[in-house]
């Protein structure tokens, strides 16, 4: 019986990849464990091994095909005695077709595509007419670090797998080649220790970028971030502080369970002496990371793994720096203010499209910075729309939405026509099962329902 070989998922967030190279041809015998193909994801090139033995009956996807969906049939094996002629070749995988893969789609594939464009051309920080270059968030972060390392010898990057491995999520790709092992430093798996070493180096005058493989692991190091980095300037009466960046992916990725899926925006947002940045698109990722590296204070820079491979327009400018602490009105609207940050923007943008069809005109505010929080922009918007829904993936209690809600109550109580409502991650540890994970995260429908509740529609 013919055995179908499917496009494998090679990381928790992979949705598609490039079939870079076939290492077998039709008619070849393969044994289990033989390498049959090379697959390129946006992060790495991986080898695909045969799981069963047999003869290659059909190569269903040509070498070099891009955008092959996970679980698509890429080849067919036939058993001894079966003729390759007997095999009716499966429909070749049409790359552009949005056809669902055959098995029950995994959660990643099932989620809606992320809107890849942000109207940043009207950003006051970008001169009109500036050329835009489509860039992934991953490349934008790397470019920001590389540019700052070129202009300031004190800047170095340190963390697990940042150098020779080129970054666990490939954010530091190419930096070792350009800057050498002195400034791109692989550490042992020892978050508490290297975070502390980074703070000490910053106190002495260097400008460290400390990469955490994910912010979940930064829990090991949170004492150094809070007690040493954030408080030293105050405790020393202004004599010395920690000019540095702690960065890495934050929040839920996909199907990685409770210990790898948590948003820490509220945790670090709580601490005086820190700045906390959480960008959504690539331009903000670049402009804000450059600002964070130059900032004379410790900055916690929260990224999102799901966003790393998404492309956005980035202005082609020599010195593109965005101000930390300023929200952006992503879309103007008159009926409701949606306030969010990071990947929460995905839900807000999609919900605003659905709401628009219902005749509800939503204003979307991308906070971009959690601390200091630009409440001026939020309050001005609420005074206009008289309603507000906050959106975040973090837990509800003492979260970012709770903070925004109370500040609106203090600053704009008389303008409110309805209570402020939060859309958050559910109050549970992140489950592993695909259906439960989906339930635990906020979704577009949650946002739509919240907006309908406060607009009484």
């Amino acid at each position: 019986m013919a055995i179908e070989i499917l496009m494998p998922a090679l990381s928790p967030t992979m949705e598609e990849g490039t079939l870079a190279k076939w290492l077998v041809k039709e008619g070849d015998d393969v044994a289990a464990g033989d390498v049959i193909a090379e697959i390129e994801t946006d992060k790495a090139t991986m080898e695909v091994e045969a799981v069963d033995e047999g003869k290659v009956g059909k190569l269903a996807v040509a070498e070099g095909t891009k955008g092959v969906k996970v679980n698509a049939v890429i080849a067919v094996l036939v058993e001894d005695g079966e003729s390759t002629d007997d095999v009716s070749a499966p429909q070749s995988v049409a790359v552009a077709e949005p056809e669902e893969p055959k098995p029950e789609p995994i959660a990643v594939a099932a989620s809606a595509p992320i809107p890849a464009t942000i109207a940043i051309s009207n950003d006051p920080d970008i001169p009109s007419g500036t050329e835009m270059v489509s860039t992934t968030v991953r490349e934008a972060l790397r470019d920001a670090m590389a540019e700052e390392m070129r202009s300031d010898d004190r800047v170095f990057v340190m963390g697990e797998e940042v150098a020779e491995y080129q970054g666990a999520y490939k954010i530091t790709q190419g930096l070792l080649d350009e800057f050498g092992a002195k400034r791109v430093i692989d550490t042992p798996i020892t978050e508490h220790g290297f975070a502390g070493i980074g703070v000490g180096a910053a106190m002495a005058g260097l400008r460290p970028i400390i990469e955490f493989m994910t912010f979940n692991f930064a829990m090991q190091a949170i004492d150094q971030i809070v007690n040493s980095a954030a408080k030293t300037l105050y405790m020393s009466g202004g004599q010395m502080g920690a000019p540095m960046v702690f960065r890495g992916p934050n929040g839920a990725a996909a199907r990685v369970g409770a210990q790898h899926s948590q948003c820490y925006a509220a945790w670090y947002g709580h601490i005086p002496g820190l700045k906390v940045v959480a960008p959504y698109g690539a331009a903000d990722a670049k402009g804000l990371l450059k600002a964070a590296i130059r900032d004379p204070n410790p900055v916690v820079f929260l990224e999102n793994e799901i966003m790393y491979g998404q492309s956005f327009d980035v202005p082609k400018m020599d010195n593109f720096i965005l101000p930390i602490g300023k929200a952006r009105i992503h879309k103007e609207g008159s009926d409701i203010t949606l306030v969010t940050f990071g990947i929460g923007m995905k839900y807000a943008i999609e919900a605003s499209q659905a709401l628009s069809e219902m005749g509800i005109d939503a204003e979307i505010i991308d906070l971009r910075t959690i601390r200091p929080m630009d409440m001026e922009t939020v309050v001005a918007s609420v005074k206009k729309t008289n309603r507000c829904v906050t959106i975040e993936e973090g837990f509800p209690q003492s979260g970012i939405g709770a903070e925004i809600g109370i500040q609106i109550m203090q600053e704009a109580f008389d303008y409110l026509d309805a209570p402020v409502i939060r859309v958050t991650g559910k109050d549970v540890p992140m489950p592993y099962a695909a259906n439960l994970e989906k339930l635990a995260l906020p979704n577009v429908e949650d946002v739509v329902q919240a907006v309908r509740a406060v607009t009484y529609k």
Partner: protein, 342 residues
């Protein structure tokens, strides 16, 4: 910084013999240690009078450690420690007035009253605190040494911690990276035998702290921390070790604190006899005084004159610290973030 590490075990240096001090060295050590003791006695008094609040950890008994180490350093070498830090600051030549005023929470204190006894710094004197979290200063000190290596400034960082901190995980994370990258850091374990109220025998599976770097190929030597000459000899050996590019080294300073862990510690975990015996037989200041007297390098009156002079400096500091105003209430909101340069 990546390089292949040798698996060859480095030769562990032997504890050097105490330095034969000259008259000038003995008198300088006597003066420096007496300054710490008199300062701490005064701090204890002011605590009792309510001028100093919170926690206050006195260094009395351990004076030889920081005094001997400081004599082995050169300009630009850094120092960092935990919260039993008054002696370290005096050894760094920080102003007793500024230190005492910080203890009383006044505007003339080193941190303008915002740090207190446990959190004090002097950029000018290369004193990097003054840290309240047991063990955190070990990673930070390793980071200061990382800076020395990165900038190739030729300096070493003296990173002090106690027998108690020696059981914190980040100490060993730091040891590993310090040796991996051969950072110029001297780890000075002030082994005063008690982590708050728990003796080293009750807290530590390996009580020979000089061997705590074995897993990382970091050599260590045991030092009589009650003999300032022995400390200085070990300090000179360690500083040379670091400066010659051999990486970190551990000094296990055998010392003793006479007072409780903090002012609020009744010290029921040890006998009065134990303390008395140590004071009578091993007091670091008495040991210097005896040698000075034996060599007839100073008369009883001359030594008394030194004590009198020091008492006057300490009294001045205490006077200042009691009368200096508290910080202006506007200080509440300063030094939280630095402004971003345009």
């Amino acid at each position: 910084m990546a390089k292949a590490k040798t698996t060859k075990k480095p030769s562990n240096p032997k504890t050097p013999d105490p330095i034969e001090f000259t008259k000038e060295q003995e008198l300088a050590a006597y003066r420096d240690m007496l300054m710490i003791r008199r300062f701490e006695e005064k701090a204890g008094q002011l605590y009792g009078m309510g001028f100093i609040g919170g926690f206050c950890h006195l260094y009395i008994g351990q004076e030889a450690v920081v005094t001997g180490m400081q004599a082995a350093l050169i300009e630009g070498d850094q120092m960092i420690t935990a919260y039993r830090d008054h002696g370290h600051m005096l050894a760094c030549d920080m102003d007793p007035k500024g230190i005492m005023a910080e203890l009383t929470g006044r505007q003339g204190g080193y941190s303008r009253g915002k740090g207190g006894s446990m959190h004090m710094f002097s950029k000018e004197k290369n004193f990097y605190g003054g840290h309240g979290i047991v063990g955190a200063q070990v990673s930070l000190g390793t980071g200061l040494a990382f800076n020395n290596r990165y900038t190739e400034n030729g300096n070493v960082c003296c990173t002090y911690f106690g027998d108690g901190a020696s059981n914190q995980g980040q100490v060993y994370e730091s040891f590993n990276m310090a040796k991996l990258w051969d950072l110029p850091v001297i780890y000075i374990i002030e082994n005063n035998r008690y982590a708050m109220g728990t003796s080293v025998q009750r807290s530590s599976a390996l009580t020979d702290f000089s061997r705590r770097g074995c897993s990382f190929n970091i050599p260590g030597i045991e030092v009589d921390g009650m003999d300032v000459r022995a400390v200085q000899a070990a300090g000179e050996l360690a500083a040379e070790w670091c400066r010659s590019g051999k990486g970190p080294i551990i000094l296990d300073m055998q010392t003793y604190r006479y007072r409780g862990h903090s002012m609020s510690d009744p010290a029921k975990y040890r006998s009065k006899d134990e303390v008395q015996k140590m004071r009578a037989e091993n007091d670091p200041i008495e040991r210097v005084k005896q040698r000075v007297e034996q060599n007839k390098w100073a008369s009883e009156d001359e030594l008394k004159a030194i004590d009198k002079e020091i008492r006057a400096i300490v009294a001045d500091a205490a006077e200042f610290a009691q009368n200096d105003p508290e910080p202006d209430s506007s200080e509440l909101y300063t030094d939280i973030l630095l402004p971003v340069e345009a």
